[in-house]
Amino acid sequence: MLNPLFWLQAISLAFSQIWANKSRAFLTALGIIVGVASTTAVIAALTGLKSKVLAEFESVGASKFFVFPDRPDNAPRNMYPWEKILLKPAEVRAIRDECTLVKAVTPITEVGLDVESGDKRIEGITIAGIWPDWHMVQNRFVEEGRPFTSIDVDSERQVCLINGDAIKELDLPANPVGEAILIGGRRFLVVGIVETTQARFFGMNTSSAEIFIPFSVAEKMQDRNFFMRIEGMFTSPELAEQGEDEVRFVLRRMRGLAPSDPQTFQVAAIDKFIEQFKALATGITAIAGGIVGISLLVGGIGIMNIMLVSVSERTREIGLRKAVGATPMAILLQFLLEAVTLCLVGGFIGIAIGRLAAFGLTQIPGAQLEQADIPFWAVVLSFAFSAVTGIVFGMFPAIKAARLDPIEALRHE
């Protein structure tokens, strides 16, 4: 119905209209620009954070699992007191001995104690009680000396492993293996140095002063109802689900839970966390999408306003175009195209600014956003949303233009 020449002139007219009113067009499109720019920047940051965090999860180990006490949902506190649901050393032994899919497992209990060496005294260092399997589970091994053995645990030897930061803080010699330090007033022999990993988890630096002692020793230094967690690894990541079932089965039996009883603990493999994190990231992305929706709404109102101004300014022109044969549809499309072009130009500038902002984010030291980038779908979506904004908010002014009476329009001053 409309010939190619119409489209050609409509598009060139749309651009020349923007060019002729540059500053006005810019101010009008500002809402779109800001909306698209901020959203693309947020999406870029989220994308960067997501890949960073997922990479960190990977480094922790995909076959890893955690067990921690958990009060059942909606259960009365008095029915499940804390001391009843706490994990017990017997339970971790049962997991170790009975779960065939568990390759390594260790209880971890932490207690804050004062540590002394010579004149140096540091208060409240976190001392972790562990099993020898901890090295495998945490993927951290000894650099000097030896790791814990089952003898250390079984005979409750007063030995400890420390890391480089602890050596520095306690002013110990570079190789302190064989030195003795006081932990909570008791004498412990340093048998090995645990490597300090630079792995950072959620931005928390784990390379502070660390001291490890056999779990059996730590047990004695704790209160009666002490808190412990269990960390372990399955034989392979593919078997994580069966492994979880196995651990669950053993623990339920240990706790004497009937099949209908709610679970008083949680077994979580790392993939669960990954899924949860992905769901969280998707949620935040959706919220960012909602924000862009609102800013595009605001921007769209600006577009509608300026298009109404444009229609009223160009009333005579519309009258003339109608006189020489423009159908109402041709006029409608002309103005709609102008609104869409304005929005798309705004969207384009917005994406450019968003990209710039994303680059800026990657340059912030320590912000964990080195991988911030705008995914292709976000670019497509931004353009699509901009175009839809143009159509939705350009429609009313365009209909107004299309319905103008040519006689009235030509008489307009």
């Binding site: 010939n3 002729a20 006189a323 020489v324 159908t327």
Partner: protein
């Protein structure tokens, strides 16, 4: 040149137009009859409120009558919808306005091409067609000028080129010289007569006898009806014929209109006169 009077290009019967402004009802046209033959050059005159503008809007298919019939080139256009009327305007009517109505940011050539933008087909070769139209109005050397680089007369020539681009059935001019000085007025009217001599049907709406004198026939309106419809020689505007002849001789266009008007319309034009034959000035 085809024999004028054989085919009616405009056939208007019992045309009425009633406007409602608030509670007031305005009868702009009250059963108007008019017939214009192919290749006539007609002036439509009347004071303000006579229905002159309304008739022009009807003839130009910018508006629809309340009742009555309007056949343009054999088609009944009085019941068409907005889209169909737009196509009729594009294909059958060339408008020339008092204030030219050129698009300020476009060149003369682009302005002339405008009707092709909305043409239903045949937009190919647009450049040649636009150049040919500009050549016909004597502006082939100014095609790349923008309206603000052109004089008033030149602007109106561009507008006329735009109007004749699609070879319309009628060239409809609304006070085409209203914004021009007298010298340019003569030139533009000479251009209309030149187009007329090339076979174009021309309808000029004006209130100036000096302009009407360039036409073959003068239709005067009053109160929404035809007051008189006479060949130029019998109309009061005819007293300006000598001046027209003198002026057009200067411009160099044959003063055919007046001569022809006197010659060929004398016989049947009286039939068009619906009311008293005596020319009455408004």
């Amino acid at each position: 040149m085809p024999d004028p009077g054989t085919t009616a290009i405009i056939e208007v019967r019992a045309l009425t137009k009633i406007y409602r402004v608030g509670v007031e009802t305005i009868h702009a046209l009250r059963g108007l009859d008019l017939s214009i033959a192919r290749n006539e050059m007609v002036a439509i005159m009347g004071s303000s409120g006579s229905g002159k503008s309304t008739l022009m809007n009807m003839l130009g298919c910018l508006d629809r009558p309340t009742s009555g019939a309007y056949h343009l080139n054999g088609r009944d256009v009085s019941r068409m919808n907005a889209r169909e009327l737009a196509h009729v305007r594009n294909e059958e009517i060339g408008f020339v306005f008092q204030s030219f109505e050129l698009l300020p940011r476009q060149t003369a050539l682009e302005n002339v091409e405008l009707p092709l933008v909305y043409a239903r087909g045949g937009w190919r070769g647009r450049r040649q067609r636009a150049l040919a139209a500009l050549d016909r109005v004597g502006l082939s050397k100014r095609v790349d000028h923008r309206p603000n680089q052109l004089s008033g007369g030149q602007r109106q020539r561009v507008a006329i080129a735009r109007a004749i681009l699609n070879n319309p059935s009628i060239l409809l001019a609304d006070e085409p010289t209203g914004n021009l000085d007298s010298q340019t007025t003569v030139e533009i009217l000479a251009l209309f007569r030149q187009l007329h001599s090339e076979g174009q049907t021309v309808v000029i709406v004006t209130h100036e006898d000096e302009v009407a004198a360039h036409c073959q026939r003068v239709v005067r309106l009053r109160d929404g009806r035809v007051l008189s419809d006479l060949p130029i020689a019998q109309d009061t505007a005819g007293r300006h014929l000598a001046a027209v002849r003198a002026a057009t001789a200067e411009v160099g266009v044959p003063a055919h209109a007046a001569a022809q008007a006197a010659a060929h319309t004398a016989a049947h034009a009286t039939a068009h006169a619906t009311e008293q034959g005596g020319g009455e000035t408004c």
